[in-house]
């Protein structure tokens, strides 16, 4: 029973692994935004990588894409309820890292 729970935690951890998913989720914490706004707000992310990250988050049910039939058409992304709730463990990870990041070995953490 216990390890079933871990297994679920792992599903959640996999969703936010990688360089950008958490940054993009955070950037959407304040409300819906257009891709161009997100790029400016985040900084240091290419359009291609942002698009791929948004697609991944949308596929995983964490963000929602809305297309408005304007001229030119406007696209906005926003967090789903699942995406908003995922900010809770993300913040807990951030709190942990704020205390312990300095104690980690220099360089990248040892990978899987």
């Amino acid at each position: 029973m216990r390890f079933f729970a871990d297994c679920q935690a792992r599903v959640a951890a996999d969703l936010i692994s990688g360089r950008w998913p958490m940054v993009v989720l955070y950037a959407l914490a304040e409300g819906p935004a257009r891709p161009g706004e997100l790029r400016r707000q985040i900084g240091g992310i290419s359009q291609k990588v942002l698009t791929g990250t948004l697609r991944r988050l949308e596929h995983n049910g964490l963000v929602e894409r809305r297309r408005y039939a304007e001229a030119p058409p406007r696209v906005e992304y926003s967090l789903t309820t699942a995406g908003k709730d995922l900010l809770v463990p993300i913040r807990a990870l951030g709190d942990w890292a704020a205390v312990y990041a300095d104690q980690l070995p220099a360089g990248e953490p040892l990978g899987p």
Copy 2:
């Protein structure tokens, strides 16, 4: 300032990404254990993978290895304070997944 915090959260997320780190941290939540005990308790993990996972967790300062000069020598692993505290966000991820795992798309989540 905001994205600095995310960046730290990412460090923490990277530490627990992959198939086994969270499972092994959980297995150590109840106290120090020998590798053989861990293997039996976890189930479905090879000795080689368990050793690699423990080495990674030790390198990252989350578990501690103690070797007792007995005959035959006895080795025990335990959580460091950082490792114990990392159970907090891990549990938060598990709570999130308990609510939302069923809503995720079938199959593996879309990778980075």
